[in-house]
């Protein structure tokens, strides 16, 4: 049996980890390599690094960070943030990342998903999708949640899969940073309608929220940031709890 994955996410700005609420109000949460190492030892199944600076001169800092992380961690990790070309992906994978997460660039240029999947395999391509409810619709946002697009939730999720994405990382902007639980309703719709693994993100505030999203929305993995960074929840404890709820995890 495959186990459910717990994935801490590190939002990186200039090599440091930051975390905000509803995508704004950033506060410092420590050194990226140190935090990554701590999660590795606590039993994280994977890690995600999202570079939120993503300007040209910061690119080198990110590659350096990826190399440092790859040298010490023996679990898979994904890197995202400002990736717009095959060349960017190649450099990150060469530096030691296992997967890349693509967000704004694939909304602008969906063909990038197919090109990346053909070149590096679907397992290396994560489609990161940021959603927000506007009226009765789920809309897709880009540029770190700053820009609304015409894309609608479910059709976009289906499209990225058809184009070759190997996983979907679905973040609810309405839930992000609120600690009120994941967007069970939309996540359930997505897991029922796509064939690739789905990672839930946005809203984790307690261990019960993780159990809820695995049992009700049937996601394959759950991602969180703040709740782990500030040591409100330890990954080992979380996994023990999930196991007690008959959810299969790697311990």
């Amino acid at each position: 049996m495959i186990t459910k994955r717990i994935i801490p996410c590190l939002d990186i700005r200039e090599g440091r980890v930051v975390k905000g609420t509803n995508f704004v109000n950033l506060r410092d949460a420590g050194s990226a390599v140190e935090l990554a190492q701590r999660y590795y030892e606590e039993g994280a199944d994977e890690l995600v690094f999202l570079d939120i600076t993503a300007t040209e001169e910061k690119r080198k800092t990110l590659l350096e960070l990826v190399k440092q992380v790859a040298a010490v961690l023996r679990i898979p990790f994904t890197v995202g943030g400002g990736i717009s070309e095959i060349k960017d992906i190649e450099m990150l994978l060469k530096a030691g990342a296992d997967k890349v997460s693509l967000n704004s660039s694939i909304v602008k240029n969906p063909e990038l998903i197919t090109q990346a999947a053909k070149r590096f395999g679907s397992q290396a391509v994560v489609a990161a999708i940021d959603t927000k409810r506007i009226g009765d619709q789920i809309k897709i946002f880009v540029k770190g949640g700053k820009e609304e697009t015409d894309r609608i939730g479910l059709p976009w999720c289906k499209e990225v899969v058809e184009r070759g994405a190997g996983e979907i990382l679905l973040t609810s902007m309405d839930h992000d940073g609120t600690k009120s639980g994941f967007d069970i309703e939309f996540l359930s719709q997505v897991t029922e309608n796509v064939s690739v693994p789905v990672i839930a993100s946005g809203g984790a505030g307690s261990k019960e929220h993780f159990a809820e999203v695995f049992l009700q929305a049937k996601v394959d993995a759950a991602l969180a940031a703040g709740i782990f960074h500030f040591q409100e929840l330890n990954i080992g404890e979380l996994k023990n709890y999930l196991q007690s709820q008959s959810i299969s995890v790697r311990v």
Binding site: R74, D98, G121, Q123, E167
Partner: protein, 208 residues
């Protein structure tokens, strides 16, 4: 002679495999051509691209014949990871039909869930190894059903006598194989935390 040769043929996980083996303290030669292959005691072939692409790349590097020769006639220890194991088969059916190294009679096929409970693809994440045999690769991993990290949509089918572990995903599929000096794993030991390190350590410390 260098202890371990890791073939660099553009596979996405080369760096991770290199990092893990280096962490274990082994001497490593990065293998890029046939003469490099002669200078190593053990060969690791990482892999995370498609079957056909991998074979094509090895062909372009002029490694096919020497790889078969080093494994079959020089009896060098070989560990194939993911596609590095899949290409040991006769044929692969990923994006077409391709010839493999044919060191095992078998095929590499896509997960087929018809008449079974459907599962998501790729099979991605940590899965437990079941039905594992007493293998030198698993020495010291004394947890019951240890977990390893998988990321693939294709798996091999080959003679049961060479299968040394399976994993369950809709149905039991082959997680690792072994025949004399040849080892193959479908999962990624370089990404499988302590269990993975232990397995790699077992391999690099084997005596031919």
């Amino acid at each position: 002679m260098t202890e371990v040769g890791i073939i660099d043929y553009g596979s996405g996980n080369f760096q991770s495999v290199y990092n893990a083996v280096k962490f274990l303290g082994s001497e490593i030669l990065i293998v890029r051509n046939a003469s490099d292959l002669q200078k190593v005691r053990k060969i690791i072939l990482p892999g995370v691209s498609a079957f056909g692409t991998s074979m094509k790349k090895l062909h372009e590097m002029g490694l096919i014949d020497s790889l078969i020769n080093q494994i079959n006639h020089e009896n060098k220890l070989y560990l194939g990871i993911c596609v590095g194991m899949q290409i040991l088969m006769t044929k692969g059916y990923e994006f077409g039909e391709f010839d493999g190294l044919n060191l095992f009679s078998g095929t590499t096929v896509k997960f087929d869930f018809s008449n079974k409970s459907p599962q998501r693809l790729p099979h991605m994440g940590w899965n437990r190894i079941i039905n594992y045999q007493n293998s030198k690769l698993f020495t010291g991993i004394d947890i019951e059903e240890p977990s390893f990290y998988f990321a693939h949509s294709y798996h091999i089918v080959t003679e049961a006598q060479y299968v040394n572990s399976q994993a369950l995903y809709g149905y039991p599929f082959i997680a690792s194989i072994e025949r004399e000096n040849i080892f193959g794993v479908q999962f990624h030991p370089e990404k499988s935390h302590q269990n993975g390190l232990m397995l790699l350590n077992n391999f690099v410390n084997l005596n031919a």
